[in-house]
């Protein structure tokens, strides 16, 4: 199917043809021509709300390169920092996607915070999200507000009898559903989400995992339905079922499709949906141009040197001692510490985090994002909730200098910075973790 043909057939697309062409051109996952531009996946979303039989949630080993696998999770602040670094090395990075390792929309806070942080750094970047679709209708407005225009939904079937062979369970409405009901719920929500996203002007790609004997005979009717909804492109991917990955399909001997079966499926689905054939099934932390992944370790090692400045926030009431409880602080002094110098920066005005009782109110949702620019926060004490939230943001909290002089603490931090030998070489695998 030609692009011309495609545009005509997609009368339901409310986006203008030019706008759509612009959205497509620079995206390596939506158009073959987009391969000149680089993409970057940020692994910020570990949780998932469904289980698929081709997935094993024990993501851990950096040796593996199958989809959905990452070796290290990032906090939103770390994700933004990684984007900045990669952009310096690969200025063609036009696309930032969040694809897992779980379902981005099952981690709405981390996903949205990351997207927002990225678009603050580079407002022209294309943001995209891949989802199983279960929570799509709930999160669509938030995604649109964050500027997401590219969406990928993985839809393997539209028949719950098939679905129950692919999804053992689905967590929806505060409970774990199983069997046909689970599959039907997921499919209903996927189609609702698909329709709503297209109506809202998003460019929607649909991924389908081709599973011989399970959904191969159904691909045609699926593609027809997707075409009717106005999905932009269809990406049929072969099942990967190496038993070593420990997936249900892998362990149960479900076979992978042959190249010929894949071609046939794409051909027949191509009658109703434009097909994507250049997908590389990348990992959820892939970086670079398609097929030329960049060695992240090298980039991060390289930057370890440039990284040898620390931003330190200090909670103090006397401006002399580190004598303020984090929750009571109304401002933070800000310092830039490097091996050569300690510079005081503009301090940060702060809305007090809690009223003062030792047990911070749990429902208090003060936005700690503003502190994500710091590496370390020094204070006399801190409650569990903000401590956890800061660590989620990648900010270290240090109370060991409580009631000591600020100057003294900063000097000690500087000393440890100087002593820091160059970071140890990254080992490929943590012993025992990859079997």
């Amino acid at each position: 199917m030609t692009l011309q043909h495609l545009r005509q057939s997609q009368t339901k697309q409310p986006v203008s043809a030019e706008a759509q062409a612009a959205l497509v051109a620079k995206h390596p996952c939506f158009s073959k021509e987009g391969h000149r531009y680089a993409r970057m996946h940020l692994p910020v979303a570990p949780a998932c709300n469904i289980q698929c039989n081709y997935c094993n949630r024990k993501f851990d080993c950096s040796n593996e390169t199958r989809p959905g696998v990452v070796s290290k999770l990032l906090s939103p602040a770390m994700a933004a920092r990684r984007f900045e670094k990669v952009k310096q090395h690969v200025p063609e990075t036009q696309v930032v996607g969040i694809a897992g390792p779980g379902d981005p929309l099952a981690n709405p806070k981390a996903t949205l915070a990351s997207l927002k942080a990225i678009s603050k750094i580079d407002e022209d970047v294309h943001l995209c999200v891949s989802t199983n679709g279960l929570a799509l209708v709930d999160q669509l407005d938030a995604l649109l507000a964050a500027g997401v225009k590219h969406l990928t939904i993985t839809i393997n079937c539209i028949d719950a009898d098939i679905g129950q062979k692919i999804y053992p369970w689905v967590y929806f409405n505060q409970q774990r559903l199983r069997g046909r009901k689970a599959a039907q719920t997921l499919i209903d929500r996927q189609l609702l989400g698909l329709e709503a996203a297209i109506k809202a002007g998003m460019l929607v790609k649909v991924n389908t995992v081709l599973i011989p004997g399970i959904n191969d005979f159904h691909i045609d009717s699926l593609a027809k339905e997707l075409g009717r909804f106005g999905a932009f492109i269809h990406n049929i991917m072969p099942l990967i079922s190496d038993p070593a990955h420990g997936t249900y399909f892998g362990l149960m001997g479900q076979r992978e499709p042959s190249k010929r079966e894949l071609d046939l499926a794409r051909q027949s689905a191509g009658q109703s949906m434009a097909q994507m054939t250049h997908c590389q099934q990348c990992r959820a932390d892939a970086v670079g141009k398609l097929g030329q992944d960049i060695d992240l370790a090298a980039i991060e090692q390289d930057n370890a040197v440039a990284d040898s400045t620390l931003r330190v926030a200090v909670a103090t009431s006397s401006n002399q001692l580190i004598d303020q409880h984090f929750g009571h602080a109304t401002q933070f002094l800000s310092y830039l510490v490097s091996a050569e110098s300690i510079e005081q920066q503009r301090s940060i005005d702060w809305q007090q985090y809690c009223s003062g009782s030792d047990q911070c109110a749990d429902d208090k949702q003060q936005d700690l994002n503003q502190l994500s620019q710091f590496n370390t926060v020094l204070c006399s004490r801190i409650g569990h909730t903000p401590l956890q939230e800061l660590s989620d943001l990648g900010v270290e909290v240090n109370t060991k200098y409580a009631l000591r002089e600020i100057k003294e603490a900063l000097l000690e931090i500087q000393q440890s910075l100087i002593n820091q030998v160059k970071p140890a070489k990254r080992t490929v695998c943590n012993a025992g973790e990859c079997s």
């Binding site: 949780a47 949630r57 779980g102 053992p168 967590y171 774990r176 749990d362 909730t385 660590s391 989620d392």
Partner: protein, 88 residues
């Protein structure tokens, strides 16, 4: 009254996303339940939310140490593939 998390946990954060009491603590290597916050979701007719979404069997146990998702209950995998082969 509190559930707890065992060493089988794979640190996927799912329970933390759904716990209404913010009772799940995600340490560097291990997750745990802050006992005084967890009420075992006693006000929810469906019961412990963490156990409803956890993808790993035996990762969450009740206060008697019983797995809320016993072996075999989530993956549907036969418990011992060898035994099946033997019975043929």
């Amino acid at each position: 009254m509190s559930v707890s998390i065992t060493k089988d946990c794979i640190a996927c954060f799912a329970c933390k996303e759904v716990c209404p009491q913010k009772a799940i603590s995600s340490g560097q290597s291990a997750f745990s339940v802050i006992a005084h916050r967890c009420n075992e979701c006693s006000d929810n007719p469906n019961g412990p939310q963490c156990a409803h979404i956890c993808p790993v069997e035996t990762a969450i146990v009740d206060n008697k140490g019983q797995a809320l998702n016993p072996l075999g209950s989530l993956t549907g995998l036969p418990q011992d593939l060898n035994v099946i082969a033997l019975s043929n």
